[in-house]
């Protein structure tokens, strides 16, 4: 009987500091055992519990796409005890991974559709996974137009800056990157994500909007999407909740009868409207 509480050992291959304040780092992890890598079949939008023995675990969205090979990438924000300890690790050290957990984005339902990806701050990580997945040569033809609106408070806090530049250079994806406030040499857009979404005005026909970000960003983005004609069942959100077991047993992360770790973290706005407003 496999033990769902037992983390699988991975080794840190590379660590890349994403933000100028060093609060966010991307860890590329490689499974120690080939079997584990084989079995870890994930889809964009899923997460894993990253385990540091002696400190604890944290639920982190998977930032890599399954199309990028066996290694996993996690962008981790330094927030508490465990994440601070993780930030002190070096390449070559071990971390445990439990997963893949959660429902992820409903990739089958998204096929043949236009995707409007809207992210704020460091919630962009699983959206990166989805964008890379959709742009992979083997997958691109299965999806329609790709639009990305991504913003951070200031330029120094943007994730994946080099990649965003590469995406902008492509002709099969429209990318709008913005910051709440400019600094340094920033010559790009300045404006909140909801405002920029309104400016970009992505068409809602045959489109899904996938939104991840802080509650305040979501709150102001949803009416914009409604105005653009996105119905609630084609707006998908990825929620965050305090989690422990990650497998729907410890009782902590529920919204009504749904557990964010197991029935989520991806929910459509239509589904959320049916649930108690307690998150």
């Amino acid at each position: 009987m496999t033990n769902p509480y037992l983390p699988l050992p991975t080794r840190i291959e590379t660590i890349r500091t994403e933000t100028t304040d060093r609060s966010l780092k991307t860890y590329v992890l490689r499974f120690q055992n080939g079997d584990d890598a084989e079995r870890f079949r994930y889809r964009p939008g899923q997460f894993a519990e990253i385990s540091l023995a002696g400190k604890g675990e944290v639920p982190i969205g998977i930032a890599s796409s399954p199309t990028e090979g066996d290694a996993l990438a996690f962008t981790i924000n330094r927030a508490g005890v465990v994440t601070t300890a993780i930030h002190n690790l070096r390449a070559g050290e071990l971390l445990g991974v439990r997963g893949p957990l959660g429902n992820g984005f409903p990739v089958e339902r998204l096929e043949g559709r236009n995707l409007v990806i809207i992210g704020g701050g460091f919630a962009f990580t699983t959206l990166r996974s989805l964008a890379v997945y959709a742009m992979a040569p083997a997958n691109r033809a299965r999806f329609g137009r790709l639009t990305v609106v991504y913003g951070a408070r200031r330029p120094g806090l943007l994730l994946y800056r080099k990649e965003l530049e590469e995406w902008r250079a492509r002709n099969d994806i429209e990318v709008a990157v913005t910051v709440d406030a400019a600094e340094g040499e920033w010559a790009g857009r300045v404006g909140f994500v909801p405002t920029v979404t309104k400016e970009v005005a992505p068409a809602s026909d045959n489109a899904f909007a996938l939104v991840c970000g802080p509650p305040v960003m979501i709150k102001y983005t949803l009416p914009i999407l409604a105005d653009l004609g996105f119905p609630p069942d084609r707006i998908l959100l990825s929620l965050e909740m305090r989690m422990k077991c990650g497998i729907g047993i410890c009782g902590r992360c529920n919204i009504g009868p749904k557990y964010v770790c197991k029935d989520g973290p991806v929910f459509s706005l239509a589904e959320l409207k049916e649930l108690p407003q307690e998150y």
Binding site: N3, L6, P215, R242, K244, C250, R252, G256
Partner: protein, 351 residues
Amino acid sequence: MRRGIFPKDRLGELIRRWAADRQIVAPVRQGAVEFETVESVAGICLDYRNTRLPAKRLFFPPSEALLRFDFKAAPERQVAEAPSDTHPTVLFGVRPCEARSLTLLDCVFLGNDYRDPYYARRREATALVVLACSTTAPTCFCTSVGGSPTDRAGADLLLTDVGDVFLVEVVSDRGEALLAGFSLPGADIETIERAERAGAQLAASMPLVVGLDRIGSLDVHVFDDPCWQTIAERCLACAACSFLCPTCHCFDIQDEVIAQQGRRVRNYDACMFAQFTLHASGHNPRTYKSQRVRQRLLHKFAYFPDNFGAVACVGCGRCIRACPAGNDIRQWLSALAAACRDQSGAGCQPA
């Protein structure tokens, strides 16, 4: 499902037979009655209504190591599953409500996409010999939540006290195996009928929670009802109810380290605590006590039924006895059932 007669004065033999290769856990009176490991029938107390602490502690303990860490070992071998301490066990003399509570916990720990191996091992290793109730306490309300004083749900053997003998019902194959080597003469119709009548009378004598007999679960729309403020007024947001409840299953996971050794443990936790849903960012979906009281009640009586088709309460009444502030879940349910009816008009889902 055969039934037979077992003389009480032979109980010692039966216990002795089981004790040869199994651990026996039974109610023992030390002031309050609690489950303890016993060596023989001598220490067992069957003259009781219910144990103070619930049987769930034997399957889902208050504190349990999940993993063990050895930081002196090579990095790849530092983390491993904690060694198991499970033995074949007979849980003897447990009440029907407790056995039923385990079938409900099974939904969470076993019936999921993920099986909890720690709980599963203890469940698989333990046979349940249930003792039907011959009296009830004023705080008992099992009949309001789908149970009864003679319920056989979860039992391997169901014993009913009928004077000098037990009427024994073999409920499962494991129960049958427990009786290996002991004869179980069939019970005569009169004894069976007498026992069934007494059981039915006892069940009928228990007052039903007002309103709950007409609803199988709470309508989730009662979430927005203003009654929660008043309901939660007296609550002190401790976990006396949750920790004594046979069906509460929330837990916390923590890493503990001393020098070069450590472990990852799970400990009881409760949705009643203020910091239960506190995010690292400081955001807390359930800041107010009334929200947490609502969560506890709706989880048991709306969300759990939604997911598993049964209410997560067996009516044992421990929460009522334990609450330092005089809260009574039956009163809450009646108030909510009334609010339910008001809101939906057509009435709530039938039992």
